[in-house]
């Protein structure tokens, strides 16, 4: 597992039914591209987060396939529809098999 991987998510705590809300996510990750070389000239192996998925109450909001061209500390911003109160689940998949997850609840009135 890559070191010090820590997700952050920004989701409003409340919304009205059917409203579109803005979501931001950021995760600390080196996103080693597989293109760089170390001091001895050896290629540093690729090690990235290759997929990011956001769901709300089990339904998909966005599903992103990530290539090494996404920057260190991957950032995503997008919008979600919230028909009722519930929970967002954010999942990041690492090349090394690690899965990082964060959740956020929203109260819909």
């Amino acid at each position: 597992m890559a070191e010090n991987v820590k997700p952050r998510v920004k989701v409003p705590s409340s919304a009205s039914a059917g409203e579109t809300v803005q979501i931001k996510t950021l995760i600390s990750h080196q996103m080693e591209s597989g293109q760089r070389r170390d001091a001895d000239g050896n290629v540093i192996p690729r090690s990235i987060i290759n997929r990011f998925v956001a769901t709300f109450n089990g339904e998909t909001v966005i599903d992103v396939v990530i290539e090494p061209a996404v920057s260190t500390n991957p950032y995503f911003e997008f919008e979600a529809k919230v028909p009722e109160s519930g929970e967002f689940v954010f999942t990041w998949y690492d090349d090394d098999g690690s899965v990082y997850e964060d959740t956020a609840s929203i109260e819909v009135s």
Binding site: T20, V61, I62, V65, A69, S71, P74, E77, K81
Partner: protein
């Protein structure tokens, strides 16, 4: 300046002059592989990116295409042109997303939206990646 970039820029100028395009590059193969050779329409998708990126390691981009099932982003001048594929689910509030990407050099960034009716739409933005003044 890399040869590939020179070729691409040259191609841009040729298009501007209304001359026939030269042969496809490897990057175009990636686009072709994605669209399966279908016609790609201009417009219907928006790609926002800075005209000049202060550092190629972190270039903010935003893609948007109303009615898209997914939007794929290619960085035509990178060693591997693929950047990201955004698939929008039933609870997407819009077919829009922002992220930060790496660009190896000045180049065209391409967004291709696959619409729910099966058509493909394209937007292209040139991003100039700055050259620092210091160091060798």
């Amino acid at each position: 300046m890399e040869r590939r970039e020179v070729l691409m820029l040259g191609a841009g100028a040729v298009v501007a002059l209304g001359l026939p395009l030269p042969a496809w590059s490897a990057a175009d193969d990636a686009v072709m592989a994605y669209t399966g050779g279908s016609d790609v329409l201009e417009g219907g998708v928006t790609l926002d990116a800075p005209e000049i990126a202060e550092n190629g390691n972190t270039v903010p981009i935003r893609v948007s295409a109303e009615g898209a099932e997914e939007i794929v982003v290619f960085a035509i001048g990178n060693p591997n042109p693929g950047v990201a594929t955004f698939r929008f689910g039933p609870l997407a509030g819009s077919q829009e997303a922002s992220t930060r990407i790496r660009l190896a050099e000045t180049q065209d960034v391409v967004a291709i939206a696959k619409m729910s009716d099966g058509t493909f739409h394209r937007a292209v933005r040139e991003v100039k990646v700055t050259i620092g003044g210091c160091g060798g």
